[in-house]
Symmetry: D2
Subunit: 135 residues, 4 copies
Amino acid sequence: MPHLTTIKVRGYHLDIYQHVNNARYLEFLEEARWSYLEDSGDVAYFEQLNLAWVIVNININYRFAATNGQTLEIATKFSQIGSKSAVIHQVIKIQGTDTVVADADITFVCLNRKTGKAALIEGALKERLEQHLND
Amino acid sequence: MPHLTTIKVRGYHLDIYQHVNNARYLEFLEEARWSYLEDSGDVAYFEQLNLAWVIVNININYRFAATNGQTLEIATKFSQIGSKSAVIHQVIKIQGTDTVVADADITFVCLNRKTGKAALIEGALKERLEQHLND
Amino acid sequence: MPHLTTIKVRGYHLDIYQHVNNARYLEFLEEARWSYLEDSGDVAYFEQLNLAWVIVNININYRFAATNGQTLEIATKFSQIGSKSAVIHQVIKIQGTDTVVADADITFVCLNRKTGKAALIEGALKERLEQHLND
Amino acid sequence: MPHLTTIKVRGYHLDIYQHVNNARYLEFLEEARWSYLEDSGDVAYFEQLNLAWVIVNININYRFAATNGQTLEIATKFSQIGSKSAVIHQVIKIQGTDTVVADADITFVCLNRKTGKAALIEGALKERLEQHLND
């Protein structure tokens, strides 16, 4: 089961087209990722290792225009763990329906905060992230 | 020559990492697109035809973390015109340098506001957009 | 008992000072007001009467700088009902403490959407809003 | 002459009412303040003294609802210098008209970044800020 976050669409999320603005969805996705990473213990784990998540790519499909009053359900899960980067896949649906509002792949690297460079995803870190593939 | 928009990074654009937040870049890109489409006359042209731009995909690479006080220069141009969708390519650099902060492809369809459906990009509309490939 | 809304502070809410940005608090307050007005049935009531809330003044005190990971609790209640305008008072605290992060008075008028003019707050509308003073 | 900043209203600044959202105006005001403080040399001066501006109150009147395509002109000036706090007054107009969209008083203290406490506004700092009253 992927991790679920719900967000209710409000009037201030909309733009001139009366739909949720394209940039706002990225805040919704970020909210859902922090919620997931906090619940999984990864926020604490990363702080302990002095690592930070740094996004290198976002590829998002906008499929259905959500509007005021709708409740969005965001499913968040790791979909790919490489040696230098990993991918989180997120799907936003109208809650209680099969209507996909947007789906996105978020590719990030693990920044070593001491060196300022991307850390290799290997050893215990790799094992931990790979376990998430089965979440 | 692609169309250029400049934006100065301010403290309120940053997030916990002291870099411009990933969602804020999408607002910067949107600002640059409207500036371009206004200057090119396309905003007026689309209104006349009762068409609206609807984004279906954004694929953005984050390459360098911009921070407070830097001036960003955003180059915006059409890169691809299909029969159902078109692509605008945007590159954000630190002004006066070759440092690429982010680059993105924005894929959109032309929504017919009367029917609520995507319009085919053909005839005069296609010609007009294709001319932009040489901007 | 005033109506309560909780919001967890995330990294994207912060600015260069590593505190929640002054503008973002207004979104938090707006979130809490819609939640309150929805729960009280006022959103539906206003739609039925073709009225809209239009803010004419916000007076907000910033008392304590909230930061990442803190959970904010926003208390929302009507504090004053006049003949032309009404006031909603909101207090943001760190959840589970007496630390006031911000408090604000939001003054609004009831816009008649047909005429585009402010409606008098009288009769049934006044009675309904005045009942909220005891919420 | 007060310092002037112009901002063009775009579709992503609007909300469900098709007007600029109340929170967004605070970003417009912040943009104008940084532009002013940068031009006046105060950003550099404050950094040198290890001081930071911390907002303690914003009192904003919303007088006219700005919408897409309008250019806003924001006038920014110091209006009051006390011993513990100072006030910046800002007025947003539709450019080229007398239509006031919003006006606001921003009260701030000067935070000593070493001690984390508000600094007294006295001596050279007071003189410098008081000169701005005549800008």
